[in-house]
């Protein structure tokens, strides 16, 4: 069959493009070689945490910081997407999040500070409703570690938090009494905590250790499917608020969002073909494109569409391939804005790294362009997310925001809306 929209990549950018397509009742397919990066992301939708990137203090009002960014950095993906489309993408996402049963809170006009697993604070503007508890205002905070989990150290997180919060911060360990002969990751624990008896064990461990009315800060392991219920059960039993913290991959908070979005899109008729890379591209002139995916059997399956959105990610997710001295776009071999010479030798530098800045250049219609001439390469191809050049999501704290906004705009324009 022929699709209205063929999306390559199943991360937040790809799903956001698909959301735009289903909104207009268009037929879309999402092709991806893996599960998509959303599964390992924090689950926060951060618009802009720091601007300029070298700034140490977080942005308080991201929408206002965006006004400045658009003026100062015309090549930044946000400038190309435009303020209006960004606001629309975020507003739409908030309403869809309620529809899919994973309600998000927040606005573009305020960043709130969330604790990280190391006990730093990180700004974000949209966050799951269940995490909508302001740690900066809590008078008593108890950081809880799970003994079976190797990826969270409550004393360490609490010690760092103590230096940046006014409230009283303590830390405790809790054992879930899970007997297995290996260390567990957050996904394992989240699955275990779906079980009522394991929840009971956790509550029992915490009963005498957690002061009433404190804000419990706990790694995001409170269930994969039923976290709302698990959170409420614990809150009620301990008479406390519970705030989950995103963990090192696998990230349960990212997993929940990815699953809910995918279920929603499938329900709305979007096809997902997962596990096969796009290895074949055919084009005629600057207009038509056809892609093919390699199946496990070695066969090539061809997929036709009126329009295409490339949302394969950056270097991390293999949308871009770094080679000695150059960077390549992995599906269409599109031209790359490449600043490879810039390797900042300080890992914790606040200057953008060349590897993150590199990417595909697009115009304000999100169409990839030739860097010198500015000419569109394929009329019916658009790019979104980390494939785009001109920003470093890791120090800017803008990764999911760029993915959401650019994916939405690319999807919307691709279906001719």
């Amino acid at each position: 069959m022929r699709y209205d929209l063929v999306i390559i990549g199943a991360g937040l950018a790809g799903m956001s493009a698909a959301l735009a397509a289903v909104k207009m009742n268009k037929q879309a397919v999402v092709l991806s070689k893996g599960l998509g990066s959303l599964y390992s992301s924090s689950g926060y939708i951060d618009l802009l945490g720091y601007y300029p990137t070298t700034e140490m203090k977080p942005v308080l009002n991201p929408a206002r910081a965006l006004d400045v960014l658009v003026e100062e950095k015309p090549d930044h993906p946000y400038s190309l997407v435009g303020k209006e489309a960004i606001r629309e993408a975020f507003t739409d996402f908030l309403s869809i999040s309620r529809e899919i049963g994973l309600a998000y809170s927040g606005t573009l006009d305020e960043n709130i500070l969330m604790p990280t697993a190391a006990g730093a604070l990180i700004p974000t503007c949209l966050y799951p409703e269940t995490t909508g508890k302001k740690i900066t205002e809590a008078p008593v905070i108890t950081v809880v570690g799970i003994e079976e989990l190797a990826d969270f150290y409550p004393d360490y997180a609490a010690d760092n938090l103590r230096h940046r919060l006014k409230g009283e911060v303590k830390s405790v360990w809790a054992s879930l009494n899970i007997k297995v002969k290996r260390e567990l990751n957050s996904f394992d624990i989240a699955l275990a905590l779906e079980n009522f008896h394991v929840q009971e064990a956790l509550i029992k461990e915490l009963e005498n250790k957690v002061p009433r009315n404190s804000l419990i800060v706990i790694p995001a392991v409170l269930g994969v499917q039923n976290w709302q219920q698990v959170t409420k059960t614990i809150e009620k039993a301990l008479n406390c608020d519970v705030l989950e913290v995103p963990t090192l991959p696998p990230s349960v908070m990212g997993y929940r969002l990815a699953e809910k979005l995918q279920q929603h899109l499938k329900h709305k008729g979007v096809d997902f073909i997962t596990g096969h890379p796009v290895t074949h591209v055919k084009c005629s002139g600057r207009q038509r494109l056809e892609v093919g995916i390699s199946l496990g059997s070695g066969k090539l399956k061809k997929i036709q569409g009126d329009s295409f959105v490339l949302a394969t990610g950056g270097i991390l997710n293999e949308g871009l391939l770094a080679c000695p001295g150059s960077i390549k776009e992995s599906v269409f071999d599109l031209p790359i804005v490449n600043d490879l010479l810039h390797v900042d030798r300080d890992f914790f530098s606040l200057k953008a790294q060349g590897l993150s800045l590199a990417g595909v250049a697009v115009n304000s219609n999100m169409q990839p362009i030739d860097i010198k001439s500015g000419q569109t390469i394929y009329e019916n191809l658009r790019a979104a997310g980390a494939t785009l050049a001109g920003y470093d999501p890791f120090i800017e704290k803008s990764g999911n925001g760029v993915a959401l906004a650019s994916g939405y705009k690319a999807g919307k324009l691709a279906i001719g809306a």
């Binding site: 697993a117 760092n160 290996r182």
Partner: protein, 505 residues
């Protein structure tokens, strides 16, 4: 002020070897090392315990020393060795005359060699080129320079010797043409101290010229830089050498879960010059492809450089031409300065022999009539090689449990994760610390009651050090790994701005 009979400067294989040798003879001694043990050349080489075959043609006396020491080290330091065996491989077009003299000299040097059929070899080492003409098995092995130095130091400490790491010798007290003591600074605290002694052994390798200069002596050390790379898997299960005159990019050594490949040879003026460049790496890969055709497709995880402490007595050759023999420089005889010798040249395989020569000399001067015993007893590194299964593995690549992390810092007042890594291999595997650095920092914060700032420093220094080594190989999977690490430590944990959102400070 402290007092001892002998101060040994340099905590590499030679220095720790001298310390142990002296301690076994009942001589009181202190070791000074400006960084951690084996942070110089002893920790920055290919980790090859030579059979001597590499030097059989060009440096026959080195070859003989190597094979004798090879057998002794395998016996006394089994936990520091992986006895892989080694192969010398000639490919089509390699000089048959060289092979002939190599065979003759190996036999003269008593290096046991056994010819292997190329087709048999390809069964067990399938990544090798099909163009092999001749293959010989030799008793090469992989040696862990970090644990070898640590094992020597531990053995010496058990005999009463004192080991001071992060302690830098800053000068000598010289009276009446005799060294009376060493000035030293603690690099952590800045505390200055003086150690009164009867004798000093300068075992600082590539730094020997700098140390001798503090005693007013000129020593012609030409540091020679060698670049090496690490692949994220075992390309081979045996040490692989090219059967040709020693050159660049012809040694592969499997270590734990990775493979070290090198080297290059380039004279440098600075013994601290440990940086590799992408061009060095690409050149090495080009060479190595002759033995492993798919080499440039394999995943690199880092590149580093070590500095050979080559010594040129009188305008002798440099680089690959310079001898790998070691020299005992008697400053009394040569420069009229009593109470100090410098050990220069040599290589890790012959460290024990260097230590013996130094200790024999010191014993004679101090009139201690005790023989060398270093070839008699087995030494053990602080972390045992056979790791029992423990269900809390904090580093899953190298299988390092919290128990081993405890063991690695047991005797330490202060430490870095880099120190822990050298003892345990924490963060040395494919993920290069991406996951285990956070865990180790969090773990030590609690188990060692560290302050938040101290744990943050542990974490950041280790991530930075692992990053530094990946810069020359930032492409393909390693570029991806960097982005993952940035995603976690910057994007998720926000550690780059940790101090900025501070209410109190």
């Amino acid at each position: 002020m402290e007092k001892t009979q002998v101060v040994v400067i340099g905590g590499g294989a030679t220095g720790t070897g001298v310390l142990r040798d002296l301690a076994l003879r009942g001589i009181d001694c202190i070791l000074l090392e400006q960084n951690d043990l084996a942070t110089g050349t002893s920790g920055r080489f290919h980790g090859l315990l030579h059979s001597g075959a590499r030097y059989a043609v060009k440096d026959f006396s080195s070859a003989r020393e190597c094979i004798q020491e090879n057998q002794i080290i395998k016996k006394i330091a089994p936990d520091c060795i992986e006895d892989t065996g080694g192969l010398f491989i000639a490919v089509k077009g390699d000089d048959p005359n060289y092979i002939k003299s190599w065979l003759e000299n190996c036999s003269l040097a008593d290096i046991s060699i056994e010819e292997v059929s190329p087709s048999d070899l390809l069964q067990t080492e399938p990544a090798l080129t099909k163009d092999i003409s001749r293959v010989y098995m030799v008793p090469d092995a992989a040696v862990d320079g970090f644990s070898l130095a640590a094992a020597n130091a531990l053995s010496a400490r058990n005999l009463g010797a004192r080991v001071k790491t992060y302690s830098c010798a800053t000068g000598f007290k010289i009276e009446k043409q005799k060294v009376r003591g060493v000035y030293v600074i603690d690099r952590y605290t800045g505390q200055e101290d003086y150690i009164k002694c009867e004798f000093v052994v300068n075992a600082t390798g590539a730094w020997a010229g700098q140390v001798a200069k503090m005693a007013g002596i000129g020593l012609n050390i030409t540091p020679d830089k060698g670049v090496l790379v690490i692949f994220n898997h075992r390309i081979t299960n045996k040490v692989i050498n090219r059967l040709r005159p020693p050159g660049d990019g012809d040694i592969f050594v499997p270590h734990g879960s990775v493979t070290v490949f090198g080297t290059t040879s380039q004279t440098t003026s600075d013994p601290n010059d440990s940086e590799a460049a992408a061009e060095d790496v690409l050149r090495l890969l080009e060479e190595g492809k002759q033995l492993f055709p798919g080499l440039d497709k394999m995943r690199l995880i880092r590149a580093f450089a070590g500095v050979r402490p080559l010594y040129q007595p009188d305008g002798a050759g440099s680089g690959r031409e310079a001898t790998r023999d070691f020299f005992l420089i008697d400053h009394d005889r040569l420069h009229g300065l009593e109470g100090m010798i410098s050990m220069v040249g040599g290589k890790l395989t012959t460290y024990r022999l260097m230590a013996k020569a130094a200790s024999d000399h010191v014993s004679k001067v101090l009139k201690v009539d005790k023989p060398c015993l270093t070839d008699k007893e087995i030494i053990y590194p602080p972390i045992p090689k056979q790791k029992e299964y423990d269900n809390k593995q904090l580093c899953q690549c190298e299988r390092i449990s919290s128990k081993l992390l405890d063991l690695a810092v047991k005797d330490k007042v202060r430490f870095t994760l880099n120190d822990v890594r050298r003892l345990t291999r924490l963060g040395m595997g494919p993920c290069q610390g991406t996951f285990c650095t956070f865990r180790a920092a969090g773990y030590y914060h609690q188990s060692r009651s560290l302050k938040a700032a101290e744990a943050n420093k542990l974490l950041k220094e280790h991530i930075q050090e692992r990053f530094k080594g990946s810069i020359p190989v930032l492409w393909k999977e390693q570029a991806q790994e960097l982005e993952l690490t940035r995603g976690i430590y910057l994007g998720l944990l926000n550690l780059e701005r940790l101090e900025s959102d501070n209410h109190e400070i």
